[in-house]
Symmetry: C2
Subunit: 403 residues, 2 copies
């Protein structure tokens, strides 16, 4: 039984509205996925509401990205303060990351990077991308060498999304920690101010956990501070905005707690919802369960087969029932895929209405999802071919950025 | 009340033969200091016995250093295996270190370095010296910058002892971690294989301790493996011998436990007894208690005053009693200072006999101790003047060593 399958069982034993969210596991007892309003309350973040969206559009001077305006990026911390800075002509920087546990990324991995890229282009700011290969060595059955190799492969996928090498620094912890003393120094400053009790509360660490895991959170925290990158910021204090999935928030709650005590500004955050597994929103898409995920290496045929075979349907079982009752788009994975990857709002709304009313069938919406994703993945594969080892080394080299 | 004073009280409440030894505190209820035979039993190390001393002399091809032959280096792990390697013409390397918590070293700090230097010269082997400025930031009220500055000052004192720059690499963790990816990679390999339960058992860490402390032991462990220094050993596996005070053994018990699991050889160890505080062997000489210590920056007059005023005497209170009963040299700090710093065995034995019999008075042995230490400290001060920032940078630069 896979880890996530057994976790679903565990959660289903609990009362119906129980969700489980930490940086390593996400499960919900509901077919519609995690209750995000409750999560905002539990985590103490703020909702991205209509007012904030309107302000965001005004400051950006253009419509916000569909992943933001559709509420997929639904929660934030201090985003208003970042918009204040933009209005005052001050620069911030972007930080996001990824834990390299598989050779290829899947579609869900793209989500934070898509919005990060949009933010970078709109606001013309530098971006640092952390690959936590140290985390993956500590949590998975992977050697240091294997994790570092996965980090480089994942970085190629990220670069293929079209990031600007002049404004983007990509680093792997197992490499970068040994190349920038400021990184380790900030890790120590943070690790001095967080107790075992605190990380047990935040991350659920226990007595049997390796000290490597216990010592890891400051490593993910450190890039939230511009002083970690003296070669980019020249030691200046620049505020940070972190687009990430909401499950990473515990790291940054900890970071924000420490920040004033080391006299550095708290990072701001913009949180996304989870990208559903093909089997449905009870879990997120996971690289370790190949049937749950559409990989960026999948062929057009594989994408078609996976969606037809595995994509959880919110439609009715019989044709008659579907025509009569219509589908539940909240739990229909094909529809959710379109929400993430079909940019045209009007077209999406037409699909939603037709499918909800029973004018459209499950097979038809699957076909639409397949036809939307196939060219995106194919284009990604074309772009990735252009990412040579040399291009990768350029992105990962310690250097000044232009901004 | 100083930390060590309150610890003495704590220990005195326990039964008479209780000693307390960990990497941060050493106290004994006995005026003669820690019961070292019991410590060997408790730590599971081996005694440096007459047989090993004889073999050591044979392999070294010369008399062993007086600190070894007088039993001040009294315990070891796998020293025979190192001597086997020497006989087989194989090279090992030396690793020792220091936690930089004060601007100047005191006499006790010199002890492991004196024997390390002797071993390096006799066996012509490379040496790495770790300055754990990260540890001091984590344990003391010192900033990263302050600790790094102390590390450099301490390194100058170490260099002044006459180490060969061609065979010796000195590094500060807060600097080196950011300059050598292999260091962090080995830290992670070790930290993956040690649980919180284990470090709680070994070091007494608790739930309220910062995760920086909990994560530190692998940083002291990593230099026990030659793969941490690819620029010296070219990635080759070379066995390590660590001369250190016995209170550092917990780190290396942990290291030796992990070593086979990362397929690297266990470091060998040669342990010294503690250098007594001037007030007596119930505690070790400590830089944080200036009256307990003779610093390498002390003037001849300060040395004289400190010994006359503070050095605990094993002699009798009245002249008559001393003439009649003689002194107890086991607890007499001036005699102990001579055991550490007077190389001539015959002269030392004459002093011991005369003082024990009451032929020599407390004031006379204090005078001998003063006259022995004054020129050693003065000579050190002369040598230290020659250690410029440039010389220091040379010792601390990442480079190949000659061996």
């Amino acid at each position: 039984m896979s880890e996530s399958a057994s976790l679903i069982e565990k959660v289903e034993e609990l009362k119906l509205d129980d969700d489980f969210v930490d940086p390593w596991n996400v499960t919900s007892s509901s077919d519609a996925g995690v209750d995000y309003d409750k999560l905002i309350e539990r985590f103490g973040s703020s909702k991205v509401d209509a007012e904030l969206l309107a302000r965001f559009e005004k400051v950006a001077g253009q419509p916000v990205h569909h992943l933001i305006r559709r509420g997929i990026f639904f929660s934030h911390r201090d985003l208003n303060a970042i918009l204040d800075m933009v209005e005052q002509g001050k620069k911030f920087y972007l930080y996001t990351g990824r834990g390299p546990s598989s050779e290829s990324l899947h579609l869900g991995h793209l989500v934070p990077f898509i919005v990060t890229k949009w933010l970078q282009e709109v606001f013309d700011v530098p971006l640092v991308i952390q690959l936590t290969d140290d985390e993956k060595t500590l949590w998975k059955d992977l050697t240091v060498e294997q994790s570092m190799k996965l980090a480089r492969e994942n970085a190629k996928d990220i670069i293929a999304m079209g990031f600007d090498v002049n404004k983007t620094f990509i680093f792997s912890d197992l490499d970068f920690m040994g190349k920038c003393p400021a990184m380790y120094q900030n890790v120590i400053r943070i690790a001095k101010r967080v107790t075992f009790n605190q990380v047990r509360g935040i991350f659920g660490f226990g007595d049997m956990d390796p000290i490597g895991k216990i010592g890891f959170p400051p490593v993910q925290a450190a890039p939230s501070f511009s002083t970690t990158f003296p070669f980019i910021f020249g030691g200046k204090t620049v505020r940070c905005l972190i687009p990430c999935a909401i499950d990473q928030d515990p790291y940054f709650r900890m970071t924000r707690d420490v920040a004033p005590r080391i006299k550095l500004p708290k990072p701001a955050l913009l949180h996304s919802k989870f990208f559903p597994a093909l089997q449905g929103a009870k879990t997120k898409m996971s690289a370790s369960d190949t049937n749950s995920a559409i990989f960026l290496t999948d062929t057009a045929k594989e994408i078609k087969t996976k969606i037809n075979k595995h994509a959880f349907s919110g439609g009715q079982v019989t044709l008659e029932d579907q025509r009569r009752l219509g589908a539940n788009t909240d739990i229909d994975v094909s529809y959710q895929l379109l929400r993430f990857f079909l940019p045209d709002d009007e077209q999406l709304e037409n699909i939603r209405v037709a499918y909800s009313k029973g004018e459209m069938l499950s097979g038809e919406i699957k076909k639409l999802a397949i036809e939307t994703l196939q060219p995106i993945v194919a284009e990604h594969q074309e772009q990735r071919k252009l990412v040579t080892e040399e291009v990768l080394d350029q992105f990962m080299s310690i250097r000044k950025l232009n901004f």
